[in-house]
């Protein structure tokens, strides 16, 4: 098998520079990496090291200042935001540190969102099944403010997997949770990842969580300092 063909995500010399009050600031400096299909990668580093920025660029949520990203065989940099959105809808799922559930939607409706965007007719049934998979069958019609932090993150995980994405991006998925709940959530995340054979790219400063990934790389001041890229 050609190694190139099994790559689901690769980045080449990704840089991100922003202009602030004190002049320009380099957040990411020529980061290159590649991720094989079905594997899991942890990006670790201290706060401000550029982890979340890198995740955003890999997922096509933002544009790099230079460098390129290929996601699912699709080069992202020539694409406009519209086209990148279509790529995300087809291939990507997200889990955020602060859950990012829509407060006006109940659990079921939040999970239905990605399916609705694809215009699937059986969105409701599939959302209910996804919530059952994360153990929230009894919370279908609860609104985010009626759920605990752990439950909210379960809903977010159900939403991330419901449309069977190739790639799952997780940004500090346990960062807002206590240790026990965090452990339960990471168990859930990894088991679903295995079950769905999804590729996982996770940002975390939690070493024990990172160690559950097959590979990890450490960022410091916007550069990869350890790990294999």
């Amino acid at each position: 098998m050609n190694a190139q063909s099994s790559l689901v995500l690769s980045a080449d010399k990704l840089s991100k520079t922003v202009t602030g009050p004190d002049g320009s600031l380099t957040i990411l400096d020529e980061v290159s990496l590649s991720v094989e299909e079905g594997s899991s990668l942890a990006i670790v580093g201290v706060s401000g090291s550029g982890k979340t920025t890198l995740l955003g660029l890999l997922a096509g949520l933002d544009r790099p200042s230079s460098g390129s990203v290929i996601l699912g065989g699709q080069k992202l940099d020539p694409l406009d935001e519209e086209a990148r959105a279509r790529v995300r809808r087809r291939m990507v799922g997200f889990v955020f540190q602060s859950f990012h559930l829509l407060p006006a939607l109940n659990a079921e409706e939040n999970v239905m969102l990605p399916l609705e965007l694809e215009g699937l007719a059986d969105a409701r049934q599939r959302a209910a099944q996804a919530l059952a998979d994360v153990g929230l069958s009894a919370r279908l019609h609860h609104y985010p403010h009626q759920l605990s932090g752990g439950e909210q993150q379960r809903v977010a995980i159900a939403r991330a997997f419901v449309h069977r994405p190739k790639l799952l991006f997780a940004d500090e998925p346990t960062g807002n949770l206590d240790q026990r709940t965090g452990a339960a959530i990471s168990d859930l995340l990894f088991s679903l990842n295995r079950e769905h054979a999804t590729t996982l790219v996770m940002v975390s400063h939690d070493q024990s969580l990172a160690s559950r990934c097959q590979r990890s790389l450490r960022l410091s001041d916007g550069r990869i300092v350890t790990g294999d890229s």
Partner: protein, 827 residues
Amino acid sequence: MKAGVFAWRSLRREFRHGELATLAVALLLAVAALTAVGTLASRVENTLLGSAADLMGGNLGISASRSALPEEFPAQAAAFGLRSSHSIEFASVLFADGRSQFTEIRAVDGDFPLRGELLVANAQGLQQHIRAPARGEVYIDHAVGAALQAGIGDDVQLGGRDYRIAGELIRAAGGAVVQFAPAMMMNLQDAQSSGLLGVGSRASYRLMVAGEADAIERFSNWAKPRLPDNARLTTIADAQANLRTTLQRGENFLRMAALLAVLLAGVAVALAAQRFARRKTEEVALLRCLGASRNEILLALLLELGMLALPAFAAGGAIGLALHQAAFAFAGPMLGTTPAPIPFAPVFAAVAIGLAVLLGFALPPLLRLRDVEPMRVFRQDMQTRLRRFDALYLLPLVVSAGLLMTQSNSLTLALVLACGLLAVGLLASLFTLLVLRLLRAVGRNWPGALRFGLANLGRRKRLTMIQVTALALSLTALDLLAVVGPSLLERWRAELPADTPNYFVLNLQSDQRAGFEERLRTLGADNFSLLPLAAGKLVGINGKDPALHLGAGDEEASRRIEGEVRVSWSSTLPEANTLIEGTWFEAAPPAAQLSVSRNWMEMLKLRLGDTLTLRFGDRDLRAAISSVREVDWDSFRVNFFLMLDPAHGNPLPHSLISSFHLADGSSELAALSRDMPNLSLVDVNSILDRVRDVIQKVTTSVSWVLAFSLAAGVMVLLGALASTAEERRFETALLRTLGADRRQVNLAILGEFGALGLLAGTISGLGTAATSVVLASEVFNMQGFRPPAFGLAVVAVASALMVMLAGLLGTRRIARTPPMLVLRRGN
């Protein structure tokens, strides 16, 4: 914590967020619109009053019959710094070459006219503004010239002396509004030395004064208690009696426009303050956590609002004045020859109202920030406890009601607007609930993004209801300004069509009728009407003396019944009359029946079925009231307080009164009055022109004010909507993150905002239609007004489009922002 410094820093930091800018713009527009409306209304009114003074020949007049006013009156006027002019009016016979003509004569002094004009034509027909006639000279009008067959340069004789005709009198300030007889103007000293004003002459002496408004006021206050029994004081307002309806209507229009602009601004301020408070919640929680007291937080908030509002008020006042000046520069020339100075009081009033709007509409959500729990810092999704009933939210209602009561100047206008808007508000809430239920039931199978947008409305039930209600109220105000206002103005302009009767003929005898009608037909007169007229006296009400029936204290009613009562009859209800009670006469009722105008019914405290005894010569006629009429006294038709059934009217001794329209018929009518000398011809062209002129002026300036308020309203509304759309920024960003393309995001927003707009547009259309019918009949005295259904339907659809567009505009910026940024900023 230094509240002032903190407030200033907060303001600088937060101004880049939308809410404060919207709030400032709403306040600025409110004050600008109010200033423009207030100054324009006041200046138009002052200019109209000024032109009324021109028409009257001064600002205040005192007429005394039979003898001149005591010398202290002109002396006191001079002491107050007022200019004054004397004139005497009397009737006498003019002679020329063996012909004679009974003439109304005005003798004026050298200061005449103090205000307005004296327009006289010379022998070449050239019209000029000149001063009073020199001694030995007179100006005669066309009718006198025609009757005496005398022209400029000829002599006329009066009281045994000869006077040279120096010009043809075209128009003179202070003349009778309705000219009953041919007229002449002469020098005052000539009249005084003519010997015609001796004891027993029925001359009327008039002192006219002109000057600054406060001096006039002081002189009026000084003069009133000192007036001799034979004297009467006339102010511009009295002189404007025939224009009262017109001016009142105009003022009501202006006030309505200003009020609606303010309420619109109030809605925008409320929406912006609500969003501001929501965003401020985290900060307040943190400050509370760090130890700031509730009162410190509140003080800082109020200071921040004050720092925001002051420049907005100042800029609004300046922009309002500039707008008013631009409008006045355009419309001013139509309003009068001497424009009134810019009034500054309305600017201060506008700022005061702006402040009331700010406090009334912005305070409730901001005061509730005091209740934010410090715990919120740890749990951002913690909801502030909602009160089932929050008395604070009555404040905007109280402020609105207060504004309506104080600014409308008319209880009816205030009540109609208040009830109309309240009904729209309630209807909007109820209707929204119903539609949301319906959407939930039927919307399940709609395309994903559209369903998402529509479902959003149902999920945010509370917010949706607030938004639809606010939108419906704003659109009602806009509808009233944009659709109903012009339609009412159009109706108003059409009330005096081109063929409105401009001549009245009194004292026509039955045997002259055929000949008279024939002459008018030859002349091409149209809109001809002829009614009988019998003069009698009211001698009994329900068999009792009218004075006993009325009791003491009602002088106006007593005065009316003491004089001559004119009665007419007709088999059909005359034009400009509407039956409001009872039925019109049967062909030949066994007993006499009367139809009475509503104002007489009220003045004489009468009821249907009461009997009036009328004395015609030596004959008494007792008639029962069988119907009550609403009479349009501004219609320029012959109208009567009392009408008899024809069967009992015809036998009474009577003459005929006719009204007709004849374009430029003065010379033909002079010939007619020569051939039928008993006729009294009344020319109402000048009064008709005056009313038309004022209607034109008032409606023009009202259109301007409507346009201002409308423009301000649309801008405020668009601003408010755009920032409402900003509330969807987080959702939109999340949708984009999950892969929604622009079309899907747009479809969701179009669905959501389109439904909001259509709901609000429909409700406001219905509310406006109902409110406008009541406004037309109760405030503007226009019966049978039909709201422009097509216009309202167009506005309903246009509102949906406008709201959708505003939604798209508001989210456009977000759609272009990388979703990453929005998500990082958080919810």
